[in-house]
């Protein structure tokens, strides 16, 4: 497949692996966090970690939209579907996120909720047009990548005069999450989470550009390399991070220059700020309340805001006590450190959100890498 195979070439990967091993100093360890679930998935699916020297370690970050969605927000959506009888449209992975009372959107669907999976916001608008007598709510989730399509849907709904369409907005912001991790005691007081640098988001950066990361690179002295989601992108980014660490630099570098510019997509940014504004605070699963880390719909578009339309009040719900998703999302623990990983909590029956999406750290390790937890099977 053209334009894809070039970025998955095993021979090039071998060359990069040799270069990384040669440049990484044996006298020290390198710990890099890949923020995005897309990178986590690529690392696990292609076996990137197998090509890295033992002293270069990847920590999975919180950049999986489904994983950071707190239980209380899913509960709001379930209640809309079951109690208010709305058609609830959302992206596929969201359906399986465990919520309160043993429910998930998928289980609510089996109980009679009209919950539909859509591939795009355009599909949600179409449902609203085709069902004028029904209320349609789009459960919007995701980072800066999925925000512009939601903004566009809201603007389109107004243009088309749709009276039965609204959005339950859960859009969150990458830079605030990274800051939150850098400010966490585990990172600041050194020790628990050694963090030598970040692999910066791919798709998010196409929208917001590379500029927003300049602040952490400088302020927290952490190198950031923005990388594409293909496995060779990840390898190249790791090599660039190793170099920055070796040279004592902490800069924002852009490996994904084929898609990311310093300023990003200005048109998309303008669209987002026309429809959305900053939320004072938002709960992230695993990170807790993070100030100014999410978006809400501006008052000018209030009629399309499901929270206003149905006067929803958010009730936070604590995670399952045994679930370590919080610590895993902050990079403090690894999936296999969690007592219920692979026993009570599996992709078929996820207890925590990291096990739900294929981009989640637990699901990725379970699905692709758990044989490594059994040394005898890793050498067969």
């Amino acid at each position: 497949m053209k334009y894809v195979d070039e970025f998955r070439d095993g021979e090039v990967a071998k060359g990069l692996a040799v270069a990384i091993a040669a440049e990484a100093k044996p006298s020290r360890n390198y710990s890099f966090m890949e923020f995005c679930g897309g990178h986590t998935h690529a690392i696990s699916r292609y076996g990137v970690a197998d090509l890295l020297p033992a002293n270069v370690r990847m920590i999975h970050g919180p950049g999986c939209p489904v994983c950071v969605l707190p239980i209380g927000r899913i509960d709001l959506a379930i209640r809309l579907a079951l109690d208010r009888g709305v058609i609830l449209a959302t992206y596929g992975d969201t359906l399986r996120v465990p919520a309160s009372g043993g429910l998930s959107l998928l289980k609510a669907k089996a109980r009679g909720g009209d919950i539909r999976m859509v591939y795009s916001t355009a599909d949600a608008l179409k449902i609203a047009r085709e069902n004028p007598q029904r209320e349609v709510v789009f459960l919007a989730i995701g980072f800066e990548t999925t925000t512009p399509p939601t903004a566009l849907a809201i603007r389109e709904a107004r243009r088309q005069g749709l009276k039965n369409f609204s959005v339950l907005c859960n859009h969150v912001l990458t830079p605030s999450a990274i800051t939150h991790i850098l400010e966490s005691p585990e990172v600041r007081q050194y020790g628990t989470v050694p963090l030598d640098g970040f692999i910066g988001p791919a798709h998010v950066s196409t929208v917001i550009g590379s500029r927003p990361y300049e602040h952490f690179a400088e302020e927290y002295r952490k190198p950031v390399v923005i990388a594409g989601f293909e496995p060779l992108d990840v390898m190249q980014a790791i090599r660039m991070l190793v170099r920055q660490v070796n040279e004592g630099r902490a800069e924002v570098e852009n490996e994904f220059s084929r898609a990311v510019t310093r300023d990003g997509n200005l048109k998309a940014q303008a669209l987002v700020s026309e429809v959305f504004e900053l939320r004072r605070s938002f709960e992230w699963r695993g990170l807790g309340e993070v100030p100014y880390s999410a978006l809400q719909i501006r008052a000018g578009f209030a009629e399309f805001d499901a929270e206003r339309r149905y006067q929803l009040t958010y009730v936070p719900v604590p995670d399952n006590k045994a679930c370590e998703c919080g610590a895993i999302l902050r990079g403090v623990k690894k999936p296999q450190d969690c007592k219920i990983f692979g026993t009570v909590c599996t992709p078929e029956n996820p207890m925590g959100s990291c096990m739900v999406s294929s981009e989640g750290a637990c699901a990725a390790h379970y699905t692709y890498g758990r044989y490594k937890d059994f040394p005898s099977e890793a050498t067969a």
Partner: protein, 349 residues
């Protein structure tokens, strides 16, 4: 079979007519549907007995029986339709046991309002597939449900076949050291359905691989090689089939990603929709597990058959208490090819 006298009833209108509740009521309308459509399409001596069940002669050998419900959406897709699929699917379940398929029972759930013309296309396609495969549809049933309670037509088929002496195929017979073969490219059926559903168009359209595999299997049995396991990797794709075999046999497997045949257009469609071809359904492919020493001979036999041109050796069986199916990635790493979680593609067959 029917007491309806010809010339007293208008023939079924296959141009404008639609299924209505009376077609499932047990009355004349039903008798007419059976006579003018099913009995004439499937015509054979057992069906002609006109009884509630078919009276069949006892075949020599052990019997295999398999059943399969078909609910595919859309009903017509590039390379086939629910009709031929419902014949191929059941023949293949019988054939992978090493059996020669003989007879099929077919049961239809029709939705009120379904166009009779479409039903005729489907039944004709079934009849053609059965004829080509040398099996007879010997008995059947038709029910009609109210509009909204089904999606056009659902077809359940049950097949009976006979296994020759000395043939023993079972999912628990894979042994460490064995070779894993596939008969051709993976994911064609599922992506043919998905490209139609998602309105994806490609320069070379993706066509379902739906086919009856008993001919290919017979040519493998003729080699006299000890075949351990045969399976057709339908729903859940190759990954699911191999995990089932690994668990049943209590072994592990190691695949080589580079050796697994996938058509470029299927790979592209999967990439586009975020799917993994290893988990996408096939309807005319075979997974073969055999002793490593026999692999080349079986590959040659497969490649000599029209349904096995792209046959390939894709991996080996080894000891593993956890029954992991692992894969060396083309990228140079290694990973698990796990059981499918949840539903990747609903209503694919």
């Amino acid at each position: 079979m029917s007491t309806v006298r010809k010339n007293y009833v208008r023939p079924l209108d296959f141009k404008q007519g639609r299924v209505d509740m009376s077609h499932g009521s047990g009355g004349r309308a039903m008798a007419q549907l059976i006579e003018e459509l099913f009995a004439s399409a499937f015509a054979n001596e057992y069906l002609a007995q006109g009884n509630d069940g078919a009276l069949l002669p006892p075949p020599a050998g052990r019997l295999v029986m398999a059943t399969d419900a078909h609910v595919v959406s859309p009903l017509f897709f590039p390379g086939g339709d629910i009709g031929c699929l419902s014949i191929h699917g059941t023949i293949n379940d019988v054939a992978v046991m090493g059996a020669q398929p003989l007879w099929i029972a077919a049961s239809f759930i029709l939705e009120e309002g379904f166009p009779l013309g479409d039903l005729k296309r489907i039944v004709d396609s079934m009849a053609a597939a059965a004829r080509e495969a040398g099996v007879s549809v010997v008995t059947g049933d038709t029910k009609v449900v109210e509009q909204g309670n089904a999606d056009g037509v659902f077809i359940t088929t049950t097949g009976v076949g006979v296994v020759p002496e000395g043939v023993l195929l079972s999912g628990d017979r894979a042994r460490p050291g064995d070779a894993i073969l596939v008969s051709g490219t993976l994911g064609d059926h599922g992506m043919a359905i998905m490209s139609k559903r998602e309105n994806l168009s490609f320069d070379a359209p993706i066509v379902s691989d739906t086919a009856a595999l008993h001919g290919l299997i017979a040519s493998l049995l003729e080699t006299g090689v000890d075949l351990r396991v045969l399976r057709d990797p339908t729903r859940g794709g190759l990954a699911t089939t191999l995990n089932e075999i690994a668990r049943q046999s209590g072994v592990g497997m190691l695949l080589s990603e580079a050796a697994i045949p996938v058509k470029p257009v299927v790979a592209a469609a999967c990439e586009f929709l975020g799917l993994d071809p290893l988990y996408v359904a096939n309807e005319g492919k075979l997974v073969v597990i055999c002793a490593a020493a026999d692999a080349e001979r079986l590959l040659a036999a497969m490649r000599a058959h029209p349904l096995g041109h792209d046959a390939a050796l894709i991996g080996t069986v080894h000891e593993d208490a956890h029954h992991f199916v692992q894969m060396k990635t083309s990228f140079g790493g290694r990973r698990i090819v796990d059981w499918l979680t949840g539903e990747q593609l609903p209503r694919i067959c």
